[in-house]
């Protein structure tokens, strides 16, 4: 059973995005719920393709807000960790901020992966 961890997410960017683009914000989380439903039914990450769920490399995935008419392009960045079935919520942003958002999210993935390796 997959569960969510949001400790790595910067709340200020989520607050800001929700304030400016609430419909898109809600749509991203609804799409996240769809992905979790698919994963909880036994599908594996990388074993399926969905338009709004795309790999950005290094284990990072983005979830789009698609489905909302006349909307701003918003992306929710997540790191699905298959071994422990944890969906890490990392960051959120628009198309304009995607470069920084991706870099920030990848840094967070390194941080998440780091201590785990040390434990091994």
């Amino acid at each position: 059973m997959w569960y969510i961890k949001d400790a790595e997410a910067s709340r200020s960017s989520f607050k800001k995005l929700n304030k400016n683009h609430q419909k898109e914000y809600v749509a991203c989380f609804v799409n996240l719920d769809k992905i979790l439903t698919v994963l909880n039914s036994g599908s594996k990450i990388g074993g399926f393709k969905v338009g709004f769920f795309r790999s950005e490399g290094s284990g990072l995935y983005r979830i789009g807000q698609t489905g909302v008419k006349a909307s701003k392009e918003v992306r929710l960045y997540v790191y699905p960790e298959s071994e422990d079935e944890i969906m890490y919520i990392l960051s959120i942003g628009t198309k304009e901020t995607q470069k920084n958002d991706i870099n920030e999210a990848k840094r967070k993935i390194k941080k998440i992966k780091g201590p785990k390796k040390e434990n091994i």
């Binding site: 969510i4 709340r11 769809k34 074993g47 338009g51 959120i92």
Partner: protein, 197 residues
């Protein structure tokens, strides 16, 4: 320290610092149940968006849009086409909430009956496979046992309501065959199976 978030909606609300978001996300998730089921089926069947689109004679972007949207944006023909591409048929249960409780129970009993009939049909198709037939046989026994138990419990809960609505039930045009005697009946079978004759 913050507790583990229990749902996507809870996470969305926490990160936004806005409790009302939880309700909005939950509402939208509810309105996307059909879409989520369709997506889940496609992935379980190992079909790509392109394969479904080819079958439906449309562009894959349409499938992508459909899967990212909610149930209100779905079109009936698209649902049928999508499911057909997956080799899945659709069953619809119409539930009339204006019916009294006894009438609604009747609807559910018939729905269960129809499903059991389908199960019998499936069993006929695999009658050479003794293992499956044995399992189905076992399942029927379990269903009957559980059904009677659940039916009895439901009837106990229903009883005060039925007594309260007795006059309405006997006069109701939606349940013309229900007599006062049937409504008063102590036995569950008298009330609910009377209509099947």
């Amino acid at each position: 320290m913050r507790k583990q978030p229990k749902s996507v909606a809870e996470t969305a609300a926490y990160l936004a610092g806005n409790e009302t978001i939880k309700g909005q996300v939950e509402h939208e998730i509810q309105r996307s149940r059909m879409v989520t089921t369709l997506l889940q089926l496609r992935i379980q069947k190992g079909k790509t968006q392109k394969q479904v689109a080819d079958y439906m004679g449309c562009d894959p972007s349409k499938i992508s849009k459909l899967e990212a949207g909610n149930d209100l944006q779905l079109k009936w023909m698209d649902i049928l086409g999508y499911l057909s591409a997956l080799g899945v048929s659709i069953n619809i249960l119409f539930e009339d909430h204006s019916l009294p409780a006894a009438g609604r129970i009747k609807q559910h009993v018939f729905a269960i009956h129809n499903l059991l009939e389908k199960l019998a049909g499936l069993a006929q198709q695999v009658c050479d496979d003794t293992k499956i037939v044995d399992k189905i046989h076992q399942f029927y026994g379990e269903v009957l046992f559980n059904f009677l138990g659940t039916f009895g419990d439901s009837y106990k809960k229903l009883l005060p309501f039925v007594k309260f609505d007795e006059s309405e039930l006997s006069e109701s045009s939606s349940l013309p065959k229900v007599s006062k005697k049937q409504v008063k009946a102590k036995s569950t079978s008298e009330v609910n199976f009377a209509h099947r004759a």
